[in-house]
Amino acid sequence: MDEPDSKTTPNQENRFEVTRRTVIETGTTALLLTTLPRAALAAGPVDDNEPPPPPVKVELQINGRPYSLTLDPRTTLLDALREHLALTGSKKGCDHGQCGACTVLIEGRRINSCLTLAVMHDGQSVTTIEGLAEGENLHPLQTAFVEHDGFQCGYCTSGQICSAIGMLAESRLGMPSYVTENLTQPAAELTDAEIRERMSGNICRCAAYPNIVAAIKQAAGLPT
């Protein structure tokens, strides 16, 4: 998984240390930032005669590293990650909270990063798909998705994996789901029906659902 190759605290002025790998990444990002219309960065149509609103400063702890940004307040968390930090693992599918491709973890809880403003998370910690592997060692869910072919085109996969991490944490906390039969039992067993219901916010257009369920069961230590 790609990560910005920076040993210093990245910020808007000095975002990346230049390496062979990031020349390509930053080159692409710089091009995007200069050529994309403002609408693409501010999510939705904007009136170009309208003066931009005062910028806001945002500090985020992303995948364990501090980032300092100055942003148009309209910038969603997803756009901050993708367009300002080149963390493009989180995907923009529908941009309206319907597909789950943008799922990230805020303070360990899964949310749709497209439906929240970056500035609303000032001072909070964000985990994206780029933050899961430890060096060359993939996260157990990443390994399980590979082993069970939990994808076809792969566009929804980073959202599926981040969502599954959040889902397993919720399950460990004993949080119920719509299909949990007995609400008063301390924790529901993660049956296929439970996993499917709990993962219903992540759409897979290739319909790799059976393999996604199998991958999650393996990572959760359940018989597959």
């Binding site: 501010a42 999510a43 939705g44 149509p45 904007v46 009136d47 309208e50 003066p51 931009p52 609103p53 005062p54 806001v56 307040p73 309209r74 969603t76 941009d95 309206h96 909270g97 789950g100 799922t103 809880r109 899964r110 949310i111 749709n112 439906l115 929240t116 403003l117 500035v119 609303m120 969502s163 959040g166 889902m167 919720e170 906390l173 004993g174 949080m175 119920p176 789901s177 719509y178 949990t180 609400l183 008063t184 499917r196 219901e197 709990r198 993962m199 219903s200 916010g201 992540n202």
Partner: protein, 326 residues
Amino acid sequence: MRAFTYQRADTTVQAAAAAVKPGGKIIAGGTNLLDLMKLQVETPSSLVDINRLPLDKIEETPDGGLRIGTLVRNSDLAADERVRQRYGVLSRALLAGASAQLRNKATTGGNLLQRTRCYYFYDVTKPCNKRNPGSGCAALAGFNRIHAILGTSEHCIATHPSDMAVAMRALDAKVETINDVGDTKIIPMAELHRLPGGTPEIETSLRPGEIITAVTLPPPPPGVQVYRKVRDRASYAFALVSVAAIVDSTQGRIRSARLAFGGLALKPWRSPQAEQTLVNAAADTTVFNAAASAVLEGARGFGGNDFKIPLTRRTLHSVLAEMTRT
């Protein structure tokens, strides 16, 4: 998205004061507001973030009920031990709504104040009396499969999309508010949402500058609690019809019943007549049908949603039969 200034509120009164100014808008979870801002259905010029206010607690009340802070996330409310034990219908309704990601973000107050999902309200190129008063209602003769059959007007046939609100209506919840000068108020759930009438743009009884701080639940009434949601997908879809039912019965006789419906109107729908039909009545088909007829009195379809009339009848019948089975 149109330009706005962003500020974080330090107190509820400060938030209300900022929101009452022209163009001011409160943001909490933001899952509905930002969606609408991207489409320019909502165009606030100033956004007031209340997420850091200490309104995220669930507390016991002296009378044995619960007080739910307006910023309690839907997922936390659904998972709360006390809610699961005593207000199962609320937990079930919350878990029936949206996705886990959205429930982790969406708040109690925001859920109540979310806007309709009427396609024409969302499409700024179409007439909509709610979005643009006086422009007309495109849903009346349009694609209206998800629309209301009760409490409609010639100006608007939208529904309120919340599941949570339906359960809260059955539980006779109350909404606590504060305004920009610090005055507090308690509004019964029955009076929070308004039917469209001639002013569908006015959706609640909240006054300008009045913000929701909490929802209180009275002690749970006796009986079994059920939330049944009928929808086009098994998960992550809005209700075509939903029923929050609390029924106290023994050996085939109903002592009392509370029924609130979602997907039928611009507010959670309760029918005192239907509930009266069930008091001290035998739990049989004749009685269930009489209750359904009372709920559906004055119901009117608009073509695409005609099916909701028999669907409501069958859903209620099924729920009552299940709840009173001996």
